[in-house]
Symmetry: C2
């Protein structure tokens, strides 16, 4: 019985658990005897008719996907233009779907992807091609609307909190005669969700991190230096978790403002080295800084169990919604209780998600601007709970999988991405 196929695509920055969603999509579709195609490198591959036949992947490989970081089918940063600007692109997409008998399209991404998914659903209706489009949430930035949290965030939050706790124990051991100020720079250019998660490392008053620098709070150099000094004098050292997105009072990103090297180039990346510079010049303390960059969002070895389970659950629900004939919706995470933490999956209309941005609530940041509140802790803590370690091979490395990624034969003429 030929019932049409399901197309799955990954979009935007990948996470430690986006493949858990992919795994759920494929496992659930297989249960319903539906073939899953996956776009190679996201929507770009769909446009180019580069479609991976997931039926060629073994059951073991799909199981291993659940524990493999990165985006197994490839992702991309590519936003379709508006329908008015590039209608041909949407028409091409429908052509590809039609050529391969694709009836269900699952788009796994953030805000932009929800918007694209919505448009594809609309154009399908307009062109009289029946396609059920489901958005599937994913982003380490945790900034999607409607859903209580975003798959991918809990794991980067756990990585950040654990790393802050561990590195601080190191610094604490040696602060009397060595490093006194330690700065860790975390992702989150526009919202301080990950910076806030660093605060989970502190279980008791005085525990590190001693200062969190949020993008929501303009950076006040004098106040910052005074706090660092006071902390070093009181605790012996000072751990700082700084968001990459902190801004000066003029609203410029600190990492971009007035930092040119000897050749006039903008200095590369890094709020952490800038802050370290400041601490050295103004306070004279010995410092160290870390910038985990991609390590924080790919650390599948330290994934949060809550996060991995939610990533799987949204993938499973997406397939079930699609097969039940839903369209232009997204499975979202609904928190039904803080303590004990309970959640369930519900369906939300894509237009409630697309192009909205969930900000870090004001009452999550402590009054002094350098810490998190009890409300933040109540929200964040369940998201890093539980471990979900991958199996390790005998060689000491996790058993991550690379798929075969067998491409279907093309049926359409080549297409140039504009």
């Amino acid at each position: 019985m030929k019932r049409g196929r399901l197309l799955y695509a990954q979009s935007g920055g990948v996470t430690a658990v986006i493949n858990a969603t992919a795994c759920a999509v494929i496992e659930t579709a297989r249960k319903h005897r539906i073939d899953v195609l996956a776009a190679r490198n996201g929507i770009v591959g769909a446009l180019r008719e580069e479609l991976i036949d997931t039926a060629k992947e073994s059951k073991a490989a799909i199981t291993a996907l659940r524990y493999t970081p990165g985006g197994a089918f490839g992702s991309c940063r590519y936003k379709l233009k508006s329908l008015e600007q590039n209608r041909a692109q949407y028409e091409r997409l429908i052509e590809v779907l039609r050529a391969h008998d694709i009836r269900w399209f699952l788009y796994n991404g953030g805000n932009d992807s929800a918007d694209t998914a919505l448009k594809i659903s609309a154009i399908g209706r307009e062109l009289d091609y029946p396609i059920n489009v489901i958005g599937v949430p994913k982003t380490v930035d945790n900034d999607l609307a409607v859903t209580d949290c975003c798959p991918g965030f809990g794991s980067v939050a756990k990585y950040t909190a654990v790393s802050v706790a561990e590195a601080s124990l190191d610094v604490e051991s040696m602060c009397e005669s060595s490093t006194k100020v330690f700065i860790i720079e975390v992702m989150g250019r526009h919202a301080g969700w990950i910076a806030a998660a660093a605060g989970l490392a502190a279980r008791a008053d005085g525990d590190p991190p001693h200062l969190i620098l949020f993008p929501e709070i303009p950076f006040d150099e004098e106040k910052f230096l005074a706090r660092v000094k006071a902390t070093v004098e009181r605790v012996g050292y000072c751990t700082i978790a700084a968001s990459e997105g902190i801004k000066n009072p003029q609203g410029q990103f600190l990492a971009e403002a007035g930092t040119r090297d000897a050749f006039g180039h903008t200095q590369l990346g890094g709020v952490a080295p800038l802050l370290a510079n400041l601490v050295r010049d103004k306070l004279g303390y010995k410092y160290h800084w870390a910038l985990p960059d991609y390590l924080q969002r790919s650390a599948r070895h330290l994934a949060s169990k809550t996060d991995a389970e939610q990533a799987y659950a949204v993938g499973k629900a997406a397939v079930e919604y699609a097969l039940a004939g839903h369209n232009a919706v997204m499975p979202v995470i609904v928190r039904t209780s803080d303590a004990p933490y309970r959640w369930k999956i519900a369906s939300a209309p894509l237009n409630a998600v697309a192009n909205h941005e969930k900000k870090l609530p004001k009452n999550f940041i402590s009054r002094d601007g350098y810490g998190i509140t009890a409300a933040a802790r109540r929200y964040l803590e369940p998201l890093i709970r539980g471990e979900d370690a991958p199996k390790y091979a005998k060689d000491g490395l996790p058993g991550y999988v690379r798929l075969r990624k067998h491409l279907l034969a093309k049926k359409l003429p080549a297409y140039e991405i504009s």
Copy 2:
């Protein structure tokens, strides 16, 4: 029966597993009903008569030590002067030992500590104070002589290999439209042991890391850029593991040579941002870079089981050697077989260890200078084998312990460290 006490001190940069050694020392001594004192902040605390009474720590706390990173009693970077230059300091140390009936001294550190331990043993004999001094190996740098490997290294090696594998999966997912060059900077200012360990992430030809930059190989800008370009063209992206200690052909550290900011300050830290700059300016590729810094040596959550077991074993052996009356020796790790990997503990004279440095063997670096050989793999791989995760608390964080660190009452006049 009063049999004297044992003093334990941690020295130099801490590791993810130095507390596993501390745990072994205390657990083994307790079995022999010997009281263990621990110097607060290493040798500096011994000189100041700041002695922690480990009997005040619960059994559960000592058990948890095995899984806690950092140095639980505090460490320091302080090298005693030579006997000729500061004899008074050595005499003070003997005075402290005598005042607290300390018969055994275990010094847990690297090359310098082995040297200090040797001197303390000598001065004890000279001053007619019977003290058995045992050096206990520890260093992430893996540069101690005689021992096959150093406790602390295996875990940073595992962290590095896993991080390279994980971040590379992330980069690989998106390289078609986004980041093409990823650089991770690793510790090892004078030897490429940790850089070499990054190479373990590559299981098959073409696997990341594609280039390793060793401090042993002068940095050749042109050749480097050509290799990066060729790799991006062949594989789609290029992962580079760079030692913080790489030097230009003139022998200067790259991170120090000619990198001043707009104010004339030496640019802070980081070979990685320098290389990223170069890649951007000369090749125009989109890049990302990571600098895990202390995260790499404190990541107890990802410790190697081999490493943790060896860290425990040297602590246990050190106590047994001490109580058996050995002096001026160090328990070292002897590899008896590569495959299957087998090791045992043996006793080595401290003067064979002190002030020597184990270099990365030339035959560990591939002919082209950018990779590791089969010989390197044979040596390194067993050291990252096995996992030894800490227990996690309900809040999602590892159950790391902070000790009470109850100080003994002082019996001597205050002492100023010169």
